[in-house]
Amino acid sequence: MKQQHVRNIAQLGIKELYSLLRDPIMLVLIVYAFSFSIYTAATAMPETLHKAPIAVIDEDRSPLSERIVDALYPPYFMPPTRITLSELDARMDAGLDTFALYIPASFQRDVLAGRAPTIQLSVDATRMSQAFTGSGHIQTIVLDQVNEFVRRERTVSIPPVELVLRARFNPELNKSWFGGVMQIINNITMLSIVLTGAALIREREHGTLEHLLVMPVSPFEIMASKVLAMAAVVLVASAFALNVVVRGLMGVPIEGSLPLFFFGAALHLFATTSLGIVLATLARSMPQFGMLLLMVLLPLQMLSGGSTPRESMPEIVQFVMLAAPNTHFVLLSQGILYRGAGLEVVWPQLISLAVIGSILFMFSLARFRKTLASTE
C-alpha cells in the first residue's frame, strides 16, 4: 500500500512535468524569470546618483567658484544650470532641479581670508534616493575643491582622527550582487505559487481533477505530486540561475554552502507551493487566481526584508511578517550567500521554514479536500 502511495505520487508528478512541458507560456515564464529577469534586475539596479539635475547660483564668479561648478559633471550630475536667486523657488517647486548650490558673493576672498564662508545647498528631499547620497557627494566635492585650491596658497593640517570604512562581504557595495540574488529569491516564491496554483486550477477547469478522484488515488497524493513536481522544477531552475547566471555571467562571489542554501530553498518551496494550492482553492477561476496572486505576492516580496531592511519597518509589520516563509528564507539566503553563514547560524530559519511549511501544507490539504467535497 505504501509502495502504491509513492508510485502514484511519482506517476502524477511525472504527469505534471509533461503538462508543464506542453505549456509554452509557463515555460517562457520560467526561462525568463531565471535568466533575463535576474540579469536585468541585477544590472538595472539604478546607481543612486545618475544625471542628477543641479542648478548653480554663482554670485562670486571667481576662479574658485568656477572650479566648484566645473567639478559637477556627468554622469553623476547633469551639466549645472546657471540661475539667479529669484528663480530658485519656482524651479525647485516645479521639480526642475534636485539640487541648487548657492555660492555667495566674495566667497573666494572670504575663504582665503580664513573667514570660513558658507555655501548653501538646497535639496529637493522628496526625491529620496538622489537627495541623500547626492548631498553628501556635493559636500565632499565642494570641500575638496576648496581644500585643493587653498593648498596651493598655504598648507593645511590633515584631520587628526581618520575614519576607515570597510564594507564586509561586498567591499565595493556592488548593487548587482544584491539585486541578482534577491531576484532569484523573489522568483522562487513567485514561480512556485504560480506553477502550483495554475496546475491545480487548470486541472479543475479541464475536469480532469474529478477524473483522478474516481481512481484509486487520494487527495493527499494529488496534492503531494503537484507540490513535489513544481518544487523540483523551481529548484532546478534556481540552481541553474544561481550557478550560471549569477556566479558565472555576473561574477558574483557566493560565500557560503550551496547545498545548505538549496536545502533551505526546498523547505521554502514546501511552504510556497502549499500556499499556491491554498490560493487555487480560494479562487474559482484563473483570473481570480491572478487577482489574488497580485494581492498576496507583493506584500510577501516587499515586506520580507528582501528589498528594504526589516528593522526599518514598523514593529507590527515585522511581527506579522514572521509568519511569512519569505522573511525566513530571505534571512537565511542573505546569511548563507553573502555572509557565508553555516548551519550553526541559520538553524532557527530552517526550523521556522519547516514549521510554516507543515502548517501551510496541512491547511492547504484541508482546504483542498473541502473544495473537492463541495464541487457542484
Binding site: M92, D110, T126, L143, R168, G207
Partner: protein, 915 residues
C-alpha cells in the same frame, strides 16, 4: 412556401477559417423569408459560424452575405440593420449577465434599444408575462433553470421587435417540457408577427421536423436544403436522423451499421451491481438530488434521462464517491460505498461529459498514466494499452494529442481510458453530447458489446431520447427527483403516449402540477409593440441613454463580484500599506557593537556618540576579531567599530590615529546609508572633541556647506514616498479593472451584445469607464486619508488641485486599461499585461525614483508621455511643496491631452465584430 419572396438571407461563396481550421467552405445559400428555417447537423460542422456571420457578429472573410436586402460587409449597413435582427448565441444564457436579475437583464437590452422608461416597462411586462417569467423577475439569471434561461434570452432578443430572429441551439440541454414550451412560444410569436423570419440551428433531429425549411450541414458544407418532407422523400428515410446519415458523404458512412440491441437476459437472480437508497444531496438550501432510489443488475444498461441541472451529474458523483450524500446510501456490489475505500474504485470506470483527458499527454501517455494509477502490474501495462487501442480503434492515433482529434475519437479514447483497468461497471455522464450520429452509433455498438459480451454494468446519462430507448431500463429525472424507472417500452405503454418524449412530457406535467408552479402555458405573446411604431427607434448617433445603460449594468455586475470588488476597494489600501512600509529606506535602530581596545574615557565617549543618535542602537561590546566575524556573519550586528589601543593617548598628543568601521555590505543600499551616517557622526564628534580640547578658535574650516533639505526636512522616506505611491496605485488598479471589464465580456461571450445591438464604440467604452472612474476617485480619497491620518503626511498645498489632477489622471488610467483590453483576449493576459505595462513605466520612468530628466533614451521618452509623470508632479507639489493650482498648471495640460488621445485610440482599435 413563399419562395417567391426575396430571401431573407442570401449567401454566395461564403468561407470562414479560424487559423488553420476551415469552418465553412464555399457556401451558396438562399434562406426564404417569413419562415422558420433550421440548420441541422452535429456540433462543429459550422452551424454556429454561419449564424454568427448572418447576425454580423463575426466579420466576413470570403464571399458575400446579404441580410434583409443589404450587404453585411458594410459597417454602415450593419449599424442600420442591427435593430432589425435579434441573435441568441449558443450556450444556456450565453448573452445574459448571470449576476443580474431577470428584470435587470431585459431592462438593459431595452435601454440599449433606446426605449424610454414607460415603453420599457410595458414591453418587459408583456414579455415576462408571455414567457411566464414574471414571478421570477428578481431572481439572478445565473440561478435560473436551463429552460428559463432560454426563455429569458428570448425576451432579451425580442424586446426590439426584430424582423429576423436568429437562435443558435436554443433548446440544447433543456428538458423536453421546457423545450416544447419554448417552441410553442416561438409559434405564438410568429402568429403575432407573421412577417418575422426565424433562423434556428439545432442538433436535435426530432425537433427539426417541425421547421418549415431545413439546411443539412456537415464539415463546413451544405449537404442538402428543403422542407423536412422533401429531405425524407429524397433519401427514402423515415426519420430525419436516418435522412441525415444518408446525406453524409460516402467515406463518413463507411462502416456505419445501425445499432442492434440484444435483449438483456436478466433474471431475478442476477447480482445487483449498484443500488441507490434514498440518495439525497443538498447544497445549502438547494436540494440537487431528492431521495433517488434504483437497483441495477449486473450487465444491464441503465439510462438516466433528464435536462441539464436536473441532478443527473450529482447523482453520478454520489455513486462514484466524489460527493458524500447528505442522506441515504449507495451500495456497490452489495457493499455500502465508502469514498475512502480505494479498492472499490478499481471495479468502476468513469467517463464525464467533458471527456476529461489530459490534453498535454498523448493518447498512449493518457492510457499508460491511467493504467499505472490503477496499479496494474508493470508487465501487464504495455499489452493492456495495446489491447485497448485495438479494441477502441486508436492504433493510428496513439501518439497524437487529444486536442488535435475529432470529438468521436476523443470519445473512444475516453472510453478506453475508463476501461483500462477492466472494471465491472462503467459510469458514463452524457458521453455522447456533441458527437455526430455516426460516431454516436459506433459508440453505442461498443457499449452494447461491453454489456452483453463482457457483462459490464453500464450506467449512462443522456438527454437524447433515441439513446434512452436503447437502454434496458431508464429513469426519467427532473428537478432532483426520479419521475419513473422502467423499461422504455413499458414507460411509453404506461402513459399511452406515442413516443418516449411524449411520455416524458406527460410525467413532467404531472410533476409540475403537484410541485409549486414553474409557470404553466403562457398567454399569447405580443412581444411588444403595435405595428412597427417603435420598431426602429434605435438610431446610429451617440446616445447617452445607451451609454448609461452600460454604466448601470457594469456597476451592478461589479457590486456582485466579491473578488473584483475586493481588489477594487481593498487592493489599493493593501498595496499602499505594503509600499508605504516596504519602500522605506530609512535606517533606524541599526544594531552595532564596539571592539574597544583602548577602554579609556575618550574611546567610550566616541561609542556613546553613536548610540546617542536615533540611527544606531548598541549591542554588547565585542571582545575580539573572532567574535566580530561571528556576530556579523550571523547578521546580529550590521556595523562594528574598532577603536585601536592607545587611541585616547595618541589623540591627546596629536598623533594620527585610525578608527575602523566595518559595515555589513550584504544590502548595499543600506550600507551606503549607514556609511553616510557614520561619517556624519564621526565628523560631528571630531569637531566637538577638538573644540573641547583645543578651544573654539583652534579649528576653523576653510568653508562650510550648509544643506537645506527642502519639503522634507528630516529626509524621511514616508513623506517622499507616499505622494509618489498614490499615482502608482491610481494607475495600476483602475487600469487593471477597466481592462478586465472588457476582456471579461470577451471571455464570457456577453460582448456579443455589443456586436449585435446599435451601440457605438464610444458609448460602450465611456459607459464601462464611468463606474471605474468613480471607484478610482473613491480609492483616491481613501488613499489621501491614509496618507494624512496613518502615515502623517499632510497635504500642504491645494487639495482642490490635487483632486482635480486625480480625476483627470484616473480617467486617463482607466482609458489606458481599456486600450490594453483591445489587444488581449484572456482575463489572465489582461491582468498580467496591464500590470507589467503600468508598473514598469510608472515606477521606473515617471519620476517616482529618479526625475525624468535624469533618464536616458527610451525611458526618458516614455517618461515624457506617460501620464503618471505629471500626476507625480501634482501630487508631490500639493502634498510636500505647498503648491496651488496656479503653480501646477503646466502639469494639467498633458493629462488633458492624454484623455482624448487614449480614448480615441481605443475606440479606433476596438472591434465591432469578431474576427
Amino acid at each position: 412556401m413563399n419562395s417567391a419572396a426575396a430571401p431573407v438571407v442570401r449567401m454566395q461563396g461564403v468561407g470562414l477559417r479560424y487559423g488553420k481550421a476551415q469552418a465553412l467552405r464555399d457556401i451558396d445559400l438562399d434562406i426564404p423569408a417569413g419562415v422558420m428555417a433550421g440548420l441541422i447537423g452535429p456540433d462543429g460542422v459550422g452551424k454556429s459560424s454561419l449564424l454568427a456571420l448572418v447576425s454580423g457578429v463575426r466579420a466576413l472573410q470570403d464571399g458575400r452575405i446579404e441580410v434583409l436586402g443589404g450587404d453585411m460587409a458594410s459597417a454602415r449597413f450593419r449599424a442600420h440593420v442591427s435593430p432589425r435582427i435579434a441573435y441568441m448565441p449558443q450556450g444556456l444564457g450565453k448573452n445574459l449577465y448571470p449576476t443580474l436579475s431577470v428584470m435587470e437583464n431585459v431592462d438593459f437590452f431595452g435601454r440599449l434599444f433606446g426605449h424610454d422608461r414607460a415603453e420599457r416597462k410595458r414591453r418587459i411586462g408583456t414579455l415576462l408575462a408571455a414567457t411566464g417569467l414574471t414571478p421570477f423577475a428578481d431572481r439572478p439569471a445565473g440561478k435560473l433553470s436551463g429552460g428559463m434561461k432560454q426563455k429569458l434570452g428570448l425576451c432579451c432578443a425580442l424586446i426590439h421587435d426584430p424582423e429576423l430572429l436568429i437562435l443558435d441551439e436554443p433548446t440544447t440541454g433543456v428538458d423536453p417540457l421546457s423545450r416544447r414550451q419554448f417552441w410553442a412560444l416561438i409559434d405564438d410569436i410568429r402568429a403575432e408577427r407573421p412577417g418575422m423570419s426565424v433562423l434556428v440551428a439545432t442538433g436535435y433531429m426530432e425537433e427539426a421536423g417541425r421547421f418549415d425549411w431545413l439546411v443539412a450541414m456537415d464539415a463546413g458544407r451544405v449537404l442538402a436544403t428543403g422542407a423536412p418532407a422533401e429531405l425524407l422523400a429524397s433519401t427514402g428515410s423515415t426519420t430525419l436522423e436516418q435522412a441525415f446519415i444518408a446525406l453524409l458523404p460516402e467515406e463518413k458512412r463507411a462502416g456505419y451499421r445501425p445499432v442492434e440491441i440484444v435483449p438483456h437476459a436478466a433474471d431475478a437472480d442476477t447480482e445487483i451491481a449498484i443500488e441507490a437508497r434514498d440518495l439525497t444531496m443538498r447544497f445549502g438550501d438547494f436540494t440537487a438530488v431528492d431521495g433517488v432510489n434504483f437497483r441495477i443488475r449486473r450487465g444491464e444498461i441503465f439510462g438516466f434521462l433528464g435536462s441539464n441541472g436536473c441532478g443527473k451529474t450529482t447523482t453520478m458523483k454520489m455513486l462514484t464517491g466524489l460527493l458524500p450524500p447528505t442522506q441515504g446510501e449507495a451500495l456497490l456490489f452489495g457493499k455500502p460505498l465508502d469514498a475512502n475505500d480505494l479498492a472499490t474504485r478499481r471495479r468502476v470506470g468513469f467517463m464525464t461529459q467533458s471527456f476529461s483527458l489530459y490534453s498535454e499527454l498523448t493518447v498512449r501517455q493518457n492510457l499508460m498514466l491511467h493504467a499505472r494509477l490503477f496499479g496494474l502490474p508493470e508487465a501487464d501495462i504495455e499489452p493492456r494499452v495495446q489491447a485497448m487501442a485495438e479494441r477502441f480503434d486508436l492504433l493510428d492515433i496513439l501518439d497524437a494529442l487529444p486536442d488535435a482529434l475529432p470529438l468521436g475519437d476523443r470519445q473512444r479514447l475516453s472510453l478506453a481510458v475508463a476501461m483500462i483497468h477492466g472494471p465491472e461497471m462503467l459510469i458514463l455522464d452524457e458521453p455522447t453530447s456533441g458527437v455526430d450520429p455516426v460516431a454516436r452509433d459506433a459508440f453505442w455498438r461498443a457499449l452494447i458489446e461491453l454489456s452483453r459480451r463482457d457483462g459490464v454494468t453500464i450506467f449512462i446519462s443522456t438527454h437524447f431520447m433515441n439513446e434512452a430507448e436503447r437502454c434496458d431500463r431508464i429513469s426519467l429525472m427532473h428537478a432532483g427527483g426520479v419521475l419513473v424507472s422502467d423499461k422504455p417500452q413499458a414507460i411509453v405503454a404506461a402513459r399511452g403516449a406515442p413516443t418516449l418524449e411524449d411520455a416524458f412530457i406527460a410525467y413532467l406535467q404531472e410533476a409540475a402540477s403537484e410541485a409549486p408552479p414553474e409557470p404553466a402555458r403562457p398567454t399569447p405573446a405580443s412581444a411588444g409593440a403595435g405595428p412597427a411604431a417603435f420598431a426602429h427607434a434605435a438610431n446610429r448617433s451617440f446616445s447617452l441613454r445607451r451609454l448609461f445603460s452600460y454604466t448601470l449594468r457594469e456597476s451592478l455586475e461589479l457590486r456582485r463580484d466579491p473578488i473584483r470588488l475586493t481588489l477594487a476597494v481593498l487592493g489599493s489600501i493593501l498595496l499602499m500599506l505594503v509600499l508605504g512600509y516596504g519602500i522605506t529606506l530609512d535606517v533606524e535602530d541599526l544594531a552595532y557593537a564596539v571592539l574597544d581596545h583602548d577602554q579609556t574615557s575618550i574611546s567610550r565617549d566616541y561609542s556613546l556618540s553613536l548610540s546617542g543618535s536615533r540611527y544606531f542602537s548598541e549591542r554588547a561590546p565585542l571582545a575580539n576579531y573572532d567574535e566580530l566575524d561571528r556576530r556579523m556573519r550571523a547578521g546580529e550586528i550590521s556595523l562594528a567599530i574598532e577603536i585601536p589601543p592607545g587611541f585616547g593617548r595618541d589623540l591627546l598628543h596629536g598623533r594620527p590615529v585610525q578608527i575602523s568601521a566595518w559595515i555589513d555590505g550584504a544590502m548595499p543600499t543600506r550600507a551606503e546609508t549607514v556609511r553616510g551616517y557614520v561619517q556624519g557622526i564621526h565628523q560631528h564628534w571630531l569637531s566637538r572633541r577638538l573644540r573641547e580640547a583645543l578651544g573654539e578658535t583652534a579649528v576653523v574650516p576653510l568653508a562650510t556647506v550648509e544643506t537645506r533639505f527642502r519639503y522634507n526636512p528630516d529626509v524621511r522616506s514616508l513623506p517622499a514616498m507616499v505622494p509618489a505611491v498614490i499615482p502608482l496605485l491610481l494607475m495600476l488598479i483602475p487600469a487593471i479593472l477597466a481592462a478586465l471589464s472588457v476582456v471579461r465580456e470577451k471571455e464570457m461571450g456577453s460582448i456579443i451584445n455589443f456586436y449585435v445591438t446599435p451601440s457605438t464604440r464610444l458609448e460602450f467604452l465611456l459607459g464601462k469607464q464611468i463606474p471605474y472612474v468613480v471607484l478610482a476617485m473613491a480609492s483616491f480619497l481613501l488613499l489621501v486619508l491614509m496618507a494624512v491620518v496613518l502615515f502623517r503626511v499632510p497635504v500642504t498645498g491645494s487639495f482642490a488641485a490635487l483632486a482635480l489632477g486625480a480625476l483627470l489622471y484616473v480617467i486617463s488610467s482607466t482609458a489606458f486599461g481599456l486600450l490594453i483590453s483591445t489587444f488581449v483576449r484572456s482575463q489572465v493576459a489582461a491582468l498580467f499585461g496591464t500590470s507589467i505595462l503600468t508598473i514598469l513605466p510608472a515606477v521606473q520612468f515617471s519620476g517616482l525614483i529618479d526625475p525624468v530628466g535624469s533618464l536616458e533614451g527610451a525611458g526618458r521618452l516614455i517618461g515624457n508621455i506617460f501620464p503618471t509623470t505629471y500626476f507625480v508632479i501634482i501630487s508631490r507639489g500639493t502634498f510636500s511643496k505647498a503648491l496651488e493650482f496656479s503653480d501646477l498648471q503646466s502639469s494639467f495640460v498633458p493629462l488633458l491631452i492624454s484623455i482624448p488621445t487614449l480614448i480615441g485610440l481605443t475606440a479606433m482599435l476596438l472591434r465591432k465584430q469578431q474576427r
